[in-house]
């Protein structure tokens, strides 16, 4: 099983309302050094099958279901060496 991590974020051109509110809250707490905050999703998956094609298959999963290419960008990290804790 490969351990796969998918990060999904709103496209930079879209206002991330949630991120802006969190940025304001951090600034109000005194963290004036915090600039733009963007909030996304992290999807951690265990994926079996041919290790050589895991990346391609997960990319297909992202395009079909996990991300909406109209509004979101995604990145995929595949860790084939990870021991999956049960």
């Amino acid at each position: 099983m490969a351990q796969v991590t998918v990060h999904i974020t709103l496209k930079p051109t879209l206002l991330d309302a949630q991120g802006r509110v969190v940025q304001n809250a951090l600034n109000s707490l005194g963290y004036a050094e915090v600039g733009q905050v963007r909030i996304g999703k992290l999807i951690a998956m265990e994926v079996g099958g041919d290790p050589a094609t895991v990346g391609d298959r997960v990319q297909e999963m992202c395009d079909r279901l996990l991300a909406n290419p109209v509004i979101e960008d995604y990145s995929i990290i595949v860790d084939e060496s990870a021991e999956v804790a049960l």
């Binding site: 309302a17 949630q18 279901l65 909406n68 109209v70 509004i71």
Partner: protein, 232 residues
């Protein structure tokens, strides 16, 4: 003439839509369970409001892969009428039957109140009973209703007059305050290129009787009946 109201797990405006069609429009209507693989025999399909599949992942994202959706896509491709209300609009965008997407309201809050809509295109099957520029009052109830689309898509929508309804104030002006969710260009509802698939965030089915505070939703519902009669 027959209507079908699709029910997903988590739909919650299915009964409102059914009631409006059966008891107000007095037209035949069935519920269609999301596991069905055919919608043959229906002239207009309604994707109702709600929180299909708990809005997990993204609004409408899981419903888009319900067994019934393939049949609904085929229904639309044959030129039959399809309307998505609120969560139904989100499903239509996820299905790419309509362009763009619906994301979190700018104010982050779930907004549940009456809004005003200006009818920009009164020549669609869904608005042919309206006057161009007519202001309709009906409720919204959503947390993710901010319509977004890239510039080429918006330009195409504007050029072909497919932004059917825009949020406005009671006088029909698109003031910043009248935009309840931050939708780009005040978009409240759009139609596809062949004018048979319409999605909107406001709820015409919840504005179908004076008891509910407005009967303006009937303008849209009666338009559909007129369009179906004309097609027979």
């Amino acid at each position: 003439m027959k209507f079908g109201v699709v029910r997903f797990p988590g739909s919650n405006c299915d009964q409102d839509a059914y009631h409006a069609i059966a008891d107000v429009l007095r037209q035949p209507v069935d519920y269609i369970w999301h596991q069905e693989r055919s919608v043959k025999g229906y002239d207009c399909i309604v994707l109702p409001g709600g929180f299909s599949y708990g809005d997990y992942l993204r609004t409408g994202a899981i419903a888009r892969f319900s067994p019934v959706i393939e049949a609904v896509i085929e229904h639309a491709q044959r030129g039959r009428l399809l309307i998505g209300i609120c969560n139904g609009f989100q499903v239509l965008c996820e299905t790419h039957l309509l362009p763009g997407a619906l994301v979190r309201n700018t104010g982050l809050k779930f907004v549940c109140r009456q809004v005003h809509l200006r009818v920009e295109n009164a020549s669609t099957p869904f608005t042919r009973g309206a006057r161009p520029g007519q202001v309709l009052r009906m409720p919204i109830a959503h947390g993710e209703g901010r319509y977004v689309a890239d510039q080429p898509t918006l330009a195409a929508l504007r050029d072909s007059n497919r932004i059917v309804v825009r949020y406005c104030d009671a006088r029909g002006e698109t003031t910043p305050e009248s935009n309840p969710n931050g939708s780009v260009d005040h978009v409240a509802g759009v139609v596809n290129e062949s004018l048979n698939v319409f999605g909107l965030m406001p709820h015409p089915e919840r504005a179908a009787a004076r008891l509910l505070g407005s009967t303006d939703g009937r303008v849209i519902m009666d338009s559909i009946v007129r369009a179906l009669r004309a097609a027979v």
